[in-house]
């Protein structure tokens, strides 16, 4: 098992290296002059040239890659031409914001995905199942920005109960940074009002972001459970007179979770890099919005860093998912150890 994980880690590291080369070349062949964009269209040419030299943009792409990789290995991701500060500082701010958003979305995704999946299984081919099916299709088909606008209209305009912008309200001081997750940091400080305010700011974007994932998870959960329900052990449990809810949640859910976990984990991983629209619409200062701004301004180092961080997150999630599944499913665990 450990050997298998180690093999996976090595293969993922190679994927990361390949990704870094791909990303590096891609952002550099994008049209536009990074130094000129950074300094403005009217900056004197000498100043622009000096910045090009400082950023090694006057060198060939392989040489630039060498300097970049060397920097990364020393923990230096470069300086953002947009924020004018080290990218590590930017990521240290934006990543926790996105992690907090993704975590709450993941909680919504897993909780409601399972609840809806189990309910649809329980009432399979009856009207609750039909309603859940329609809602699921809607969630999958409609893009997140549509839900964002609808949610905003409903909860901030018609029934104004939630804020639509930022991480905290004006007039509330940010928490002392310990984890970067505002709710956690406020709670660690004992500032419950701050935690509540941060939570209120998170609710709408998190719900919107989780909508597609909930729908997908619910469908997968249902499909797996319905398939397992037809197996002899489920019939035996019914014959013993075990209550239906107990059969569903205790005996059927666990063996049905493999595909659910695989897909949901990937969905959660994709939240980190795929929240561009939601973070933009809700003016939420997360990594996706930062990446988008960097891309539009051809902030080459920042774009490369964001894509690399996203890559690490997706790969990390894959690895953790593999491990969880192998623990949940003895067949995989034993096959890998033999």
């Amino acid at each position: 098992m450990i050997l298998k994980i180690l093999k996976r880690v090595v293969s993922y590291l190679l994927v990361l290296l390949g990704l870094s080369v791909f990303v590096f070349i891609l952002v550099r062949v994008m049209p536009g002059d990074t130094a000129r964009l950074a300094l403005g269209p009217r900056a004197p040419e000498e100043t622009v040239q000096a910045l090009r030299r400082e950023m090694h943009l006057d060198k060939s792409i392989p040489v630039q890659y060498y300097y970049w990789l060397k920097g990364i290995l020393q923990g230096d991701l470069g300086t953002s031409v947009i924020s004018k500060r080290p990218i590590t500082e930017d990521i240290a701010f934006y990543l926790p914001a996105t992690v907090e958003l993704a975590l709450l979305s993941a909680i919504f995704m897993a909780t409601f995905g399972i609840l809806l999946g189990v309910t649809a299984t329980k009432y399979s081919e009856k009207w609750p199942d039909a309603i859940i099916r329609v809602l699921s299709y809607l969630g999958i088909v409609a893009p997140a920005f549509l839900w964002a606008v609808l949610a905003m209209l409903l909860f901030a305009y018609l029934i104004p109960i939630l804020p639509v912008s930022g991480r905290i309200s004006a007039g509330i001081a940010p928490p002392v940074t310990r984890t970067g997750l505002y709710i956690v940091d406020y709670l660690l400080q004992g500032n419950f009002a701050g935690a509540w305010d941060a939570f209120r700011h998170l609710v709408m974007p998190a719900i919107v972001l989780s909508f597609g994932g909930i729908s997908q998870s619910a469908r997968i959960c249902r499909a797996s459970m319905v398939s397992n329900m037809e197996k002899p052990y489920a019939a035996a449990e019914r014959a013993y007179g075990i209550p239906e809810n107990k059969i569903l949640y205790k005996y059927l859910l666990k063996p049905s979770l493999n595909s659910f976990i695989s897909v949901t984990a990937l969905d959660i991983a994709m939240l980190f890099g795929g929240a561009y629209l939601v973070e933009s619409i809700f003016n939420y200062p997360g990594l996706s919005r930062y990446g988008l701004t960097a891309m539009l301004n051809k902030d080459v180092f920042a774009v490369s860093a964001v894509m690399l961080v996203d890559g690490v997150i997706v790969i990390g999630f894959n690895l953790v998912t593999d491990i969880i599944i192998s623990f949940l499913d003895p067949r995989i665990r034993y096959s890998s150890s033999t």
């Binding site: 403005g40 004197p44 924020s83 004018k84 104004p160 309200s169 709710i183 009002a193 305010d197 949640y249």
Partner: protein, 555 residues
């Protein structure tokens, strides 16, 4: 599973209960906490982000808004494009306008408590030139040296004669040398000056302006608060806002909601006509429109066929429907009368600008072109590039030009490109399209602010001059005007240049743009809104329409 769910719900309830007891949700779901509502006179305004609040670094709209409020300048631009003394009480120049001596007030105090002296002015200019970013291009190559003669006198020596040097100084924001030097990072790129305080000035100010930085969150907002010891005082400005928050990254989709529930007090100026109409329909919200000195041009490449022929260029100018542009696309804008914003000294009148929407004249011009047959047969097409970041307005405008030329039988190939790509294309004659849309904003309000950057040969190969005019006579006239100190004489030369440009028609001057903004008229009123409502003529240099000391919070 059940246990995990119970723990999660309990945690959420705990936060909820605590939140309800310690800090009740804000009224009506607004983003402003209950305890702060109604007390301070506050404004929240969306801006393009990020804002660079270091005067040696920034130069775009949001940066300028912060500069004019955080810093003082030697001279102040008025709403009629003239300048008034500010920190400088008076000034004089030598005969050939190569040396300027400014005499400073002695009651200006920085936010740090330090007194503003001539040394600070010299430091600010030297810092700007050394850093080379932001507005440095206005002074680089012109300012040879700057010297603090005594505490109240500063002398600028120029490398060439300039009659309008005082006008340029609206962008020299004066920094407190002692504060900056106390906060430099030693290992910077500027020798004994370290990083020249660049890192510190990302989030702090070293100014003497009416507002000072309260909080600068690089990721999302700048909050400025009133500087109570401001040298001009506040007694005549009792309604000025106590705090102003410049909020970055507000999406169009959320703007209406935020304005409706009081999270925002105004919109930005980049919305479509439909969005402004929707915002206007909100209770208490009104629209104001301000000329901001920006003219919107079709730059015609005079070195690339078929726009290298003056008749083709004139045909495009006559086939442009100026009324539709001003009434339906850039609402509130005025038809431009030439390269200098209409109404400014040195600009042309309506009668002096021959170009009006007239398809018969357009056809007449086209027929005189050697390219006529090729253009009509479709063997030759016009390439037109618009800025894809310019939104639906530029796209509609491109379609309007295409339709106008189609009615003459000429095909126009439209391409939307990011501004970054347009800048790259502008570097050579061959890659510069026949026609390019560019909105041009001068850094200071004077005829030369328009003419020098737009038509002097030194700007060829940049986005500012995709015409590739390279006309020695125009160059000489621009240089002559800029070295003339007498304003009337200078304006006469500007007019002469404008008339010559009319003849060769390198540009279609489509509109003098108005910056539109929806604002909560039941909460505040700005000088722009007042002048707009009164129908007065006015023009503001970039950023100066947001001089918050002159704003009035109502109620």
């Amino acid at each position: 599973m059940k246990r995990a769910l119970a723990i999660l719900l309990a945690a959420l309830m705990l936060i909820g209960i605590a939140g309800c007891t310690d800090n009740p949700p804000t009224p009506a779901g607004t983003d402003k906490p209950a305890e702060t509502q109604g007390k301070p006179k506050a404004l929240t305004i969306p801006v393009d982000w990020p804002a660079y609040i270091d005067p040696g670094v920034g130069s775009k709209a949001a940066d300028c808004i912060s500069f004019v409020n955080l810093y003082d300048t030697l001279v102040f631009p008025n709403s009629d494009a003239t300048i008034s003394p500010m920190v400088a009480e008076s000034w004089e120049a030598n005969d050939d306008c190569t040396e300027y001596t400014f005499h400073l007030r002695d009651d200006v105090v920085f936010h740090s408590g330090n007194k503003l002296t001539a040394k600070d002015v010299a430091f600010s200019m030297n810092r700007m030139l050394s850093v080379g970013e932001g507005f440095a291009y206005m002074y680089a190559g012109l300012v040879q040296s700057v010297e603090a003669v005594d505490e109240k006198t500063v002398k600028f020596t120029l490398s060439s004669s300039s009659g309008l040097f005082p006008n340029l100084l609206i962008r020299l924001y004066i920094l407190d040398e002692a504060t900056v030097m106390a906060n430099i990072a030693k290992d910077g790129a500027y020798g004994e000056f370290g990083d020249y305080g660049k890192n510190w000035l990302l989030t702090h100010d070293a100014g003497s302006g009416p507002y000072k930085v309260k909080e600068m969150i690089t990721e999302e907002h700048l909050t400025m608060e009133k500087y109570s010891d401001y040298w001009m005082g506040w007694s005549d400005k009792p309604q000025a806002p106590d705090t102003v928050k410049l909020l970055g990254g507000v999406d169009t989709a959320s703007m209406k909601t935020m304005m409706a529930n009081g999270e925002l007090d105004a919109s930005d100026d980049a919305q479509t006509a439909e969005t402004y109409a929707a915002l206007d329909a909100l209770e208490g919200v009104e629209i104001s429109r301000a000329p901001i000195g920006v003219n919107f041009n079709i730059m015609l490449n005079t070195k690339l066929a078929p726009t290298d022929d003056v008749h083709v260029r004139k045909a495009i100018a006559f086939a442009t429907d100026y009324d539709t542009i001003a009434n339906d696309i850039y609402i509130g804008s005025a038809k431009a009368t030439g390269p200098i914003q209409k109404g400014m000294a040195g600009s042309l009148s309506d009668e002096e600008c021959p170009y009006k929407y007239d398809l018969a004249k357009a056809e007449e011009e086209l027929k005189q072109s050697p390219y006529y047959n090729d253009l009509i047969s479709g063997a030759m097409k016009l390439s037109l590039t618009y800025c894809s970041e310019g939104g639906a307005q530029q796209e509609n405008l491109a379609l309007l030009i295409q339709a106008g030329m189609a009615s003459l039988g000429v095909s126009v190939e439209i391409t939307g490109k990011p501004f970054a790509t347009m800048m790259t294309d502008a570097q050579t004659v061959e890659t510069t399209p026949n026609a390019s849309f560019v909105a041009f904003a001068p850094s200071y309000l004077d005829g030369s602010g328009y003419l020098k950057n737009r038509y002097h040969s030194s700007s060829c190969g940049t986005w500012e001059q995709m015409e590739w005019l390279q006309d020695a006579e125009i160059d000489a006239l621009i240089e002559q005007a800029m070295s003339t100190m007498d304003q009337d004489a200078r304006n006469a030369i500007y007019k002469e240049i404008s008339l010559k440009l009319m003849d060769i028609c390198p540009t279609v001057w489509m509109a003098d743009l108005a910056s539109s903004s929806a604002y909560r008229a039941d909460h505040f009123i700005s000088p722009v809104a007042e002048m707009f409502a009164a129908g007065e003529a006015f023009i503001f240099a970039m950023g100066y329409s947001c001089y918050y000391r002159d704003y009035k919070i109502l109620g």
